[in-house]
């Protein structure tokens, strides 16, 4: 049978495998064929795997997630030759469920960016319009899922790297509660913020993949026990209390088309039985980005120290250790990691620590409290995921601040360690708009339930118009 990988969900593919309507080999081959056809244009993958055998579902994996025996570059030249000797826990979990790694997807270097333009291997392109970015940093996974090059994928989210690309490419992405998914084996960007999460075509697929990868891990001390994941099924939202933070929905720079699509989705939620009320997050939007750009670079400046040319990856020759490491890092890191290493080093320096890193941590506590207070009254907070639809490649690459502002709406809940789900809620200028649903800690099931009911009511067609 012919498989339409653009429409095939993981759930449906799994049914076809179970009923033996297709074989594992056929399924894998269908994706390899789609990759062969469309990836030259989309550049979603940095590495495509051969079928390792078995009857499990294929899985695309963001290239910051370590895969034993499969090159893992984090989108950086400094890891061009690096092949991990061990699997990340999420990969081990996926393999235990029979999943097969289909390939490694493109990412901004060390997940630092919002467009994949910071990848040392060139940008990925948006399946809806290849002249535009797919978002980032997980633009490769996003382009792969939207472009029918994978049934689903793993991403990683530090300040919006799962949710924002999902919004720009028109599919579902979950950034889970901090501590529910192991970071072991995942190349660290900012340890207190990094979370691996699922990228999928439907909320049910997203929930299923989350149930596979999540759980306490003895190798990651920051993980916790996770409530049993329920696959959502209902169509109503009776009893659900939705808060609409005015600062998140009225922020500067939100495009009118985005606001319209989000407002329609909120009205739809009300018609499904949810109660909707305006509320306020007075500091989160104003200070979230500034705070994030101190905490994340500070941690990154330390996390990226290990790329010193001593044990793995790139090494440039030098007369002594100091010269070797300086030349290696100069040649191996692109502009964005260098920029963040410098910002982070400065923020942690003696004499500046209190003013920058120390203050940022205090603001982070304020952001968390502000969210906690709202969750006493609401089950879910909604807003646009991204202020804009996908922008043209090159439009913001020379303006780091404009690029950083892409994440103004995703960052606050990341700083608070909260789960956030993106679902597509419509089109603006022919491009997808994403709706962000944020819940309290460990409320993934609530997000899945709300997301699924809305997804059914919205009826968004996730296949890019030009590929239908």
């Amino acid at each position: 049978m012919t498989l339409d990988t653009l429409r095939l969900t993981a759930e449906e593919a799994d049914r076809l495998l179970r009923t033996k309507e297709i074989s594992g080999a056929e399924l894998f081959a269908a994706y390899l064929a789609a990759i062969g056809e469309r990836d030259p244009e989309l550049h979603a993958y940095l590495h495509v795997c051969e079928n390792p055998g078995g009857d499990g579902l294929p899985l695309a994996v963001k290239d910051v997630i370590g895969t034993k025996g499969i090159p893992t570059t984090a989108g950086s030249k400094i890891l061009e030759s690096y092949v991990p000797v061990y699997d990340a826990t999420v990969i081990a979990n996926a393999k235990r469920h029979g999943l097969r790694v289909l390939g490694k997807t493109n990412t901004d270097e060390f997940a630092m960016g919002s467009s994949t333009e910071n990848s040392a291997y060139g940008p990925s392109r948006n399946p809806w319009d290849p002249s535009r970015v797919p978002g980032g940093s997980g633009g490769g996974s996003a382009a792969a899922v939207s472009g029918g090059l994978a049934p689903w994928a793993l991403g990683s989210d530090t300040g919006g790297s799962i949710k924002q690309p999902a919004a720009l490419c028109g599919h579902v992405g979950l950034r889970p509660t901090y501590g529910t998914v192991s970071r072991y084996g995942v190349i660290a960007f900012a340890s207190s913020l990094d979370q691996v999460g699922p990228v999928a075509k439907t909320v049910r697929d997203c929930a299923w993949l989350y149930s596979i990868i999540s759980g306490r891990d003895a190798n990651d001390s920051t993980t916790v026990d996770v409530p049993t994941v329920e696959l959502p099924a209902g169509e109503r939202l009776d009893g659900l209390r939705i808060g609409v933070p005015k600062e998140m929905n009225g922020a500067d720079g939100i495009e009118p088309g985005v606001t319209e699509a989000v407002d329609r989705a909120i009205e739809l939620a009300e018609s499904l039985g949810a109660s909707v009320e305006e509320c306020s997050l007075p500091h989160s939007v104003d200070y979230g980005v500034a705070c994030y750009y101190l905490v994340a670079p500070a941690e990154a400046s330390s996390n990226l120290g290990r790329y010193d040319g001593v044990r793995f990856g790139l090494r440039e020759d030098g007369a002594d250790f100091r010269e070797m490491i300086m030349r290696t890092r100069d040649a191996g890191f692109g502009d964005e990691p260098k920029r963040r290493i410098m910002i982070g080093t400065y923020a942690l320096s003696s004499g500046y620590y209190e003013a920058y890193y120390g203050t940022a941590q205090k603001v982070r506590t304020v952001i968390k409290r502000e969210h906690d207070a709202l969750f006493e009254r609401y089950d879910v907070l909604v807003s646009p995921t991204s202020p804009t639809v996908a922008f043209p490649i090159g439009a913001k690459i020379d303006d780091p601040i404009a690029m950083y502002m892409n994440d103004v709406l995703t960052i606050p809940s990341c700083m608070a360690g909260l789960p956030g789900l993106n679902i597509p809620c419509g089109l603006s200028q022919g491009l997808p708009v994403g709706l962000q649903l944020v819940g309290p800690q460990f409320a993934e099931n609530t997000l899945f339930r709300a997301g699924h009911a809305l997804e059914q009511a919205i009826g968004f067609d996730g296949v890019p118009e030009r590929l239908r």
């Binding site: 997630i65 890891l79 061990y86």
Partner: protein
Amino acid sequence: MNVAWQPVVGLEIHVQLKTQTKMFCRCRNGFGGGPNTQTCPVCLGFPGALPVPNRRAIEETIKLGLALDCAIAERAVFHRKNYFYPDLPKSYQISQYDEPLCAQGKLVVPTADGGVTVGITRAHLEEDAAKNVHVAASGRLHGATATLVDFNRGGTPLLEIVTEPDIHDAETAKRFLQLLRQTVVELGLSDAELEKGSMRFDVNVSVRPEGSGELRTRTELKNMNSFNFAAKGIEREIARQIRIYEEGGTVEQETLHFDPAHEEAPPMRSKEEAQDYRYFPEPDLVPVHPPDDLVERLRAEIGELPGARIARIADTLSFYDADVLVTGGLDRLWADVVAAGADPKEAANVLANQFVAAGVDPARVDPAELAKLVSARAEIPRAAFDEALAKTGDTGFSAAPYLEQKVVADTGELDPIIERIIEANPAQAEQYRGGKQGLLGFFVGQVMKETGGKADPRVVNERVRAKLG
């Protein structure tokens, strides 16, 4: 101007814990493996690897903290200390900074007239660095052209103890270190073997006018690997600083690296660089909250500590003897030997001298048999006594056969032998009579040899002197 100077000394001690596994991974912690055989993605700092703290190491740190009378933190935090070096695979060391496991303790160093109280600023846990090996193409150290790194030691648990600047002389510093070492060994935390580097210390030294409370510029002596060496280094440094001040100069903040292999060589100096380690809380670990019941259980496991035992035993013996027995790890055996009937002073002398020289493990000795030997020391030949002592650690050792060998003190038996030896060595006898007193030993030695070591050396001495005189 004649100022009296008061030295001010603070110590920073590192002790390698002998846990089964490393601090943040499950690799074996121990000597002996070939280079880089005891490694994994975590202790090699591979991308994505995360630390998981060793519960045992945390408990042992708390235990030492309790032994040092520290407050145990209700919340302790690991920090990252960032710097680049080939032996530091992550480019940061996981250590502790402003929220250590143990703080504000003290250790009383017993003295003949009471004791010196040394404040413990903190005791915390960190990971050790790997080992750099510099090699040349020729394979020799000189003109090294490459550096190899052995990561076996990397990530092993390291206890750091920092004292207040409460020490004012080299002798107290040395005795503090000996007492701390004994405490650590008895608690079972570490072998604390200086020559293997499992205990290392840095010393901070400054001087100030007597009576002044100021803290002047200090210098740091690094690479100390013996207690005597540390004491000598401190003395030298105190003298140097006093000389500088008295000549109107100023002491510069610097680090003095001693080469343990060349004790007499002048120390290498390096300017104290203003290193900025960019400490920040380790985001890969959660804070440690030691539960009260754990702390109490650990406290209950601590027996009477060495310092207290020195003070107690000094009531029976001299302070000096008590100190030697306890810091030598011999006082428990001493108490058992005394309980089995030996004279306390006699037992202390034997243990502190011949027994130590014999190198027997005190834990393997049957105190009853050793007591018999100690009590018969004057009556059995020296050679037989030494041989017996060396065997006290053997399984099933019995003193009986040695007790039967009686020393020959009978002058009727000894005199003919002495006379024969003097006659056989006329030249030496002439020299002795001419004033070369040192030759007495030669004659005594010959007699002891002739009698197979059974003669009583005291009597032989006396008779040789009389016959030659």
